[in-house]
Structures are given as structure tokens and as C-alpha cells.
């Protein structure tokens, strides 16, 4: 059920990013819903399953973004491992944890894209990334806030509904 939730969220997020956001937002300013999902997976999943999920979503995003297959795969895998390996140092009770991690993950993603883009002859990718990074940070954090509010509303509105995955925040201390 949890896996289904991730898949559903990831695929819907991908479709929204490719087909809906471009209609209402400029080319250079789209919230990265998949990144928010990867951060969430980093908070709540184990190394093996979360790593595979992150890599899989990265490959899917590669089909719809950029020109090098595998780039986002590596980026999301490293972001997942980054979040997963540092999450035990943060206070899980803090409601701003996800937002802070999304902020850091966006910075990390930008750095990795510039680094990996250098191998792909991506030219002045670093200029584009630097130019749009402040806006992207705001958009991603804003998207994370909206998603958190939406999920909280879902849980309140449908009292019995348990959104799969959201109950696993405390299991990160298991291993």
C-alpha cells in the first residue's frame, strides 16, 4: 500500500510537472514535486527500498527532463542517501523538518546537477542553475508547505483515512 502511494504520488507529480505547471508557470520556475517525495522517502524509508525508489523516480524524471538519461537517477539517489544518513541528527517533532530538508535538498540537487552536467557537456548549466536557484528554493519549499497542509487536511477530513507512509516517521530509528 505504501509503495502504491509512492508510485501514485510520483507519477501524478510527474504528469503535473510536465503537463500542468507549464500552462500556468514560467519555464524556469516549476516546483519539483519529485524532489519533495524523495526527501519524504529519505525521512521514512530504509536504505535499500528507499534507494531503489529514488533511483527509479530519477530515471523516470530523466525521460522528461534534461538530455542525459541517468543524471537525475544519480542526483536523487545521492539526495536520498544524504537525507537518510543525516535524518537521525534532527528533531523529528519539529514540523519544519520537511521544509528544512527540502531547502537543503534543493541546494544539494543544484550542486549535483552542475557537477554531473560538466561531464555531459551541458555548457552553461551552472549559469542557469545559479540564476534560478533562489526562485527554485522558494517554489520547492512552498510546494512542500502546500503538500503538508493538503495531507493534514486529508487526515482531518477523512478521519479514518490513513495516508500510507505518513505513519512511518518514527521507524527511522529502527536500524
Amino acid at each position: 500500500m505504501r509503495i502504491l502511494f509512492y508510485l501514485l504520488f510520483g507519477l501524478v507529480g510527474l504528469l503535473i510537472q510536465t503537463a500542468v505547471f507549464p500552462r500556468i508557470l514560467p519555464f524556469y520556475l516549476k516546483p519539483d514535486l519529485i524532489l519533495v517525495l524523495i526527501v519524504y522517502i529519505g525521512i521514512s524509508e530504509k536504505y535499500s527500498s528507499g534507494g531503489l525508489f529514488s533511483y527509479g523516480f530519477g530515471l523516470l524524471l530523466d525521460v522528461f527532463a534534461g538530455s542525459s538519461l541517468g543524471m537525475y537517477g544519480v542526483v536523487f539517489l545521492l539526495i536520498f542517501f544524504g537525507v537518510r544518513s543525516t535524518i537521525c541528527y534532527f528533531n523529528s517533532e519539529n514540523p519544519f523538518l520537511l521544509l528544512f530538508l527540502v531547502f537543503c535538498a534543493t541546494l544539494f540537487q543544484a550542486s549535483l546537477l552542475v557537477l554531473l552536467g560538466a561531464f555531459a557537456e551541458a555548457g552553461a548549466l551552472w549559469q542557469i542553475v545559479l540564476h534560478h536557484l533562489p526562485g527554485q528554493l522558494l517554489m520547492n519549499v512552498f510546494a512542500a508547505v502546500l503538500l503538508m497542509l493538503f495531507v493534514t487536511w486529508l487526515q482531518k477530513r477523512f478521519f479514518r483515512l490513513v495516508v500510507p507512509g505518513l505513519q512511518r516517521l518514527d521507524e527511522r530509528y529502527d536500524d
Binding site: 500552462r23 537517477g73 539517489l77 557537456e121
Partner: protein, 272 residues
Amino acid sequence: MFDLLTRYRRQILISALILVSLLFYSSNLRRGGASTLFERAVLQMTVPIHSALDTIWQGAADIWTHYLWLVDTAEKNDQLLTQNRLLHSELMQVQEIRLANERLRKLLEFKAEVDLVTLPAQVISEDASSWFRTVVIDKGADDGVLEGMPVVVAEGVVGRTIRVAAQQSRVLLITDAASAVASLVQKNRTRGIARGVGADLTLDFALRLKDIAEGDLIVTSGTGGVFPKGLTIGHVDKVTPLEYGLFQPISIKPTVDFSRLEEVLVLLREGP
């Protein structure tokens, strides 16, 4: 040995996953621009969804424009009636210009038909990230599209196809950082490489001593093997004069409005 593997299981797993992903990325870079089976399959599977979303969006926009946005219609109607009287007087003058325009257009169309075979396509989605500049069009291998084919609109060059599935293709826009187009300054034939930097382009390797000014037209040189010669790329937006060095930094403003890209033409005969 087994104990060692068990003890460092997590570290080994992380290292293995990172290594495999890097190797996969590296192998794809070496393979160049060819679409993989995975990419073709995913692109193909999303065709109906993207088309359906496109139709739904068009429908919603139509309803909004024709029904919900008519609150102040009566007021606008009065204004339009006034405008209509003024425009009617101008119409007679425009008729003459229109006839001349039609003649010229026929000539242009004839020229286009003779030189290149074009395939009209619709832009159905854009790049999923904010960092790259690609769009998806609704024509693919079934329509004769191949990787590396130029994509244009009336205003100039749009980009080239980089991934082709059966019924849709991804186009790398010339404003993407990975795009490089062999170009020249139309007035004095100075050669250079037009590279994308997001919203605009830069003209690299333009010799410093060449006379290039703001507003000069930049066109494709035809030497890159992808774009035919003479297609408009943009106008020189800014020239930074340097006192020394071999080249001069030049910024180009593209003539194509990439934020309003809807219909494009794929130049079929110019494939690799």
C-alpha cells in the same frame, strides 16, 4: 568474509547503488543521443495521458473564456461597436496590403516546399524540471521523425529532436545549456557557436576584431550538420567590448518566444 559482508552490508549497498547509477549515467553519455528502449517505452506510455490532459486543459480554457469570463460583456460590446466603426474605415486600406501579403506568402511557401519537407507538430508538454529547456511534441518515429532533426517556427529555430518514441518526441530547445548551434552574424558572416543559457543565448568564438553591434541578426551557418543554412536564431542583444583576447562576449536574444510555443515544424529532410 561473510561476517564482513554482513557487518558492512549497508555501506556496501550504498556504494554499489551509487557505483551502478554512475556507470549507467556514464555509459549513456558515451552512447550519445540515441533513445533507449526505456525512454521510448515511457514516452510512448504517456502519449494518451498527455494528449488527454492537453484536451482537458483546452476545454477548460475554452469554457473559461467563453462562459465564465463574460461578466462584463455588455460593457465590452459597446466599446467594440465603437472600435468596429473605426476599423471598418481602415479595412479598405488593409485589403490591399493583404492581397500583397498573400502573394508573398505563396512565394515563400513554394520556396519552403521545394527546399525542405516539413512536418507540423503540436507541443504537448514541457520539461519536468526548471533547469533544462526541452518540450515534447506529438509526432514521432511513426511520422518519420528521427533524432537530431531540426525543429523550427516561422520566427526562427526552436531546437532539435533528441529523443524519439513512436508517436512523440522530445525537442532540445536552443536555449538549453546543452544546445550548441553553428551560427554566423548575417551582415559580416562572422562565425560562432550559439549556446543556450536559459532564456537567452551567447555567441561563443566570435572574433574580437569583427564589427558586431546590437541588433545584428544571427542565423544558422549550416556547418553543424543539423540545421540548414540561414535560419534565424536571434538578434545581438549585448556586445561586451574587450581590449585584449581573441574573442568577444556576445549575448543573443532569440526571435522565437519560447514561452508561447504551440505549433512547430520538424524539418524532415535535414536529419543526420
